[in-house]
Symmetry: D3
Subunit: 240 residues, 6 copies
């Protein structure tokens, strides 16, 4: 297909991806991840011990919180701290990131340690949740390495890697890694979270406009698999 996009990409091409490790000095793992102009700062914080409901289980815990700076977007949004409540979208994405990372964690090997992944969107241009997941895996790997270097782990708590990408249909045209304007225009939007070994952790497809057929879903899943494979390579390269 010879469809060309606003930024000149092919329909099956990722935006330039940058993963900068150790962007912060205090956090046990930290990554500035960029998918084009989307820029997410991920900090992994390790604490000894687990939430009360998990105490004395011998098992660890991993969780995530997602948020956007007020001027990450084209026009300024009010802070959720000022409004006094967290919006539904924020909740939904925080939960998605946490679930995605937990899918590759061996809690027993982690022991009774907790890792919190704070994903703060400094600039948003579509795909903030998929960039957050992709970056969070790297920050998590660094936090795990930190624990290991302190002799706090028995085995390797990471069973696999995790990457995520968005795909969608703009009219009849399937697109990989949607930028904000493409996302707004898309009829269908699918977020795919995959392991490095090629299995699905999460598939979330929504018809924003026209409902989609089983065949169309298949095309999007193909594209998502392609994107996740490339992102996995970027992660391994960054961690090398």
């Amino acid at each position: 297909m010879s469809f060309t996009r606003l930024d000149g990409r092919r329909h099956d091409e990722l935006r330039p991806v940058t993963i900068t490790r150790n962007w912060l000095d205090h956090a046990e793992g930290s990554v500035l991840v960029e998918f084009g102009r989307t820029r997410v700062l991920v900090a992994a914080s390790v604490t000894v011990g687990v939430p009360r409901w998990r105490k004395d289980s011998g098992l660890g815990w991993v969780t995530a919180e997602y948020a956007m700076l007020p001027r990450a977007t084209h026009t300024r949004s009010d802070r959720e701290s000022v409004r006094g409540r967290i919006g539904g979208r924020t909740h939904e994405i925080s939960r998605l990131i946490g679930r995605s990372l937990r899918a590759v964690v061996d809690y027993k090997a982690l022991g009774e340690n907790t890792i919190v992944l704070d994903c703060d969107v400094l600039q948003a241009d579509g795909g903030t949740r998929t960039a957050a997941i992709t970056g969070a895996y790297v920050a998590l790997a660094d936090a795990v390495a930190n624990l290991r270097s302190r002799g706090a782990l028995k085995g390797n708590p990471l069973k696999d890697t995790v990457a995520a990408v968005s795909v969608g249909y703009a009219g009849a045209q399937p697109l990989l890694d949607l930028a904000y304007e493409e996302d707004v225009a898309a009829d269908t939007d699918l977020n795919v979270v995959m392991t490095g070994s090629g299995k699905f952790i999460e598939v979330q497809g929504t018809a924003e406009g026209e409902p989609f057929s089983r065949d169309e879903l298949g095309v999007l899943l193909d594209l998502g698999e392609l994107g996740c494979r490339q992102l996995t390579a970027k992660q391994l390269e960054a961690l090398a």
Copy 2:
């Protein structure tokens, strides 16, 4: 396959489904929907006018709110009104229900009217969100009929029907319409929202245990299509 479930169902069998219309006296549409022991009361409330951001657009609006009574579940949960904040799960499901119904609404034909779908879970035994969506469509249809009977509509704002069902893997066994204990045990959990014409509005699959393969996803989608087709028939029967 001859797998038998706790409640004696076949792996590809829905629980008994009951849709009772006009359960309430005041609401423009109301349905008590039951998927086995899961019992959701849906009330559709019509108001003339739309939210401020949509004024003078000539377009209508449909939205949903989901909640659980504190003792809907096996053990009592605190009320979200008492805690002073809505949890992430509640937010996430409210948004899913709203999106699902909006996918079949022609806003122009609805005109500047708003329909709110309140889905309150009186008893929960798995599948509360899919029961809510399935019941909400019927309540919505009644509310639309009410508007139409008052001469408030130009055309038909409902372009299609909507039904939803959960499917999942318990080990190697794919299951349709998971009850609570099955859901807890499932490795993979997929919620499928479909139109009566057989297209997808939403597909949300999550690996709670092991990540799933593309083939396994295919099997679950087959089961989901089967379930939605049967639920659509139940809806039409109830509305007849």
Copy 3:
């Protein structure tokens, strides 16, 4: 007196009262109580142990929470969970229900167990608080029976029964068990909570219009006693 009401009742006649036990599968006691079109679902939840301030006292605790579904009423109200705070009316009624039930509880016989009575108004047509109290007594009795059947109680923690009814003046006309439209029109509104043995637990009279005289108060108390006696009979019949 031959005064006839909107729904054809005599001035001293209750609406049809229905008490359906075991409406829920999980709760230790549950009742759907109906005073005409007013419909309240009461769930009694038992937990072992008591709130911190009562620990090691050997005494139990009973409390109640009251709430309305958003479309219980003629026009939809916002959810208190969404507004992030509980309104004064909700607080006031929750406290009234709790006090009313506690008046017949022998905490020593209950032992260090807590029973929470959740009273959720599914449909409101006046008298929701009196219906809630009347139904809550039956749910409480079932929860106590449940505890007893488990051998968790030494004696009988219920010293008496409790029922409640509203009475009021519409102009010069005293009325028993006011429906919503009667309540709105009433000058004086009195809620009476009584034990089965004919004593008062709570008397709350308010002049919504004209202040009332001592004689008028007497007439209302007579009517309230009459209504409570009949409701007590209904409760015993349901529990038989």
Copy 4:
């Protein structure tokens, strides 16, 4: 009866009552009211205009807010502003005060003006709500006089006076105007709000211990009438 109380009062004797007008410099009406050691500061604030739901009705509005300073009581309580929510008791009393005062207001004569009565308990020793109502009437009268002196009123918006007192049973002994320790020990607690012309605005009786009989209620109402008559005299004296 020759029963003597902790502070030496007869059973049917009020505590020393002081009503100090114009305790504040800015408020249109202000009163420091004292029932023994109970000390409530009431400020009446007048604003031109009424809440939105009452606009263009030609009718005024009167409302009240009750609160306690954190160290009004024997041990310090947390501030409701710090906890971020208003408790049920505060809500309940604010509503009671507002209703009580509104019962003697002619909204037409008040015109589209709003009067807010802030009742802040500086020191609590039982009877804070009845002291608040009794003081609030005087502050309201001063605020009305202020409006009248500005030529903002057509007629007299006050149809009667309002006073309130608590009565109760300590064992077999009926008591007027309960101090804190008496209130704690009382079996039955009744708040009576009356007009100067001897009619009831509100009667709220609660069995804290043993339920009470119709005869016992009669004795308490007699005492309450006696107390309100004396408080009315105090109010008129203060306003003279």
Copy 5:
């Protein structure tokens, strides 16, 4: 200088200051402090024990909370408890008062006791935070004396006294102890908190209009020192 102010004071003259001890019956220390028409009620509450983060340190704790009654000001403000959140100004002043008092406390001598200083503004006419600090010192001294009389202290936890005053520039004219109207008109506003021994605990100067020079700051500090010296004398007199 012969500048005369609205209330006839010289530029370097305090308003009449009154410090009334034991204004409340329950609190371990309590003061009604008046700077002209500004009237603040301070209650000092002692509790045995310290916040969790300070346990088993052997050290005590002192903290403060500041608030205004809704009609302390010229026009009524909404209650922070009703709005459900504490405003920035309230937070800021509470923190200032706490810091100021803590500066003269010897935590070791206080032992594991906590003293909370509640400063509630009954009427505001400028300088509420400085009046609060000045009054809070006296209430704190009384609370400490109370602890000492109970034999709960080893030594004297008060190393010095604390007083505070506001100073400012109205145009070219420096003024001591600004009343509300002067404060509104001032270009620069400086709050000075000093010990009885003449050292600074806190200096907070803000240019509301024109930025100020080093020389102007010097003039204001001179005035502030003068005012604090006089307030210290008033405190000692009150405590004598």
Copy 6:
């Protein structure tokens, strides 16, 4: 003096200061400002119009919000959005930043436009509020230039520049621009906000340990003037 600090600085030496303009793509002005390891992202957002209370005045408005990412600090802090309320420190600093910038703004020249300065601390190592003010001035200048380039301004709304620095005493040693560990150890902490023309906008000095003398205050003000002068030069260089 030859005192040497942890990071090798002289007592009167600033940390390395970096001001990176246009760090964001959407905001009208944006700066990443670094004082050593302290890193604050400032975004200036322009909106046409002013808050309601300022409408039709012909005057503009400038305000600021300060916040910290949860892992900006050595150990993770909970998000204020999650806790549902903004802490006192955050409120206090937001107000300080807003006041500081407003001191150099000519509202008339700004016209009815609003500029919000969001200062988000990405990493904290002491001096976050002074870095925020220093960076916010540059972001504000860029936002003003943006407005001017659109022809939206009549004159120059910036009357001067603003910079800020912290100074303090570590024992007998005065220090400029305190890093976190120095701040924790300091007896006295002074934040100085100055204009480029050498006048004070805000002076906030606090005795964390020992109260300070007038002479010691003088030494700190000298150091603060020195630091602000150097920061002003950095700002002008960045804007050149």
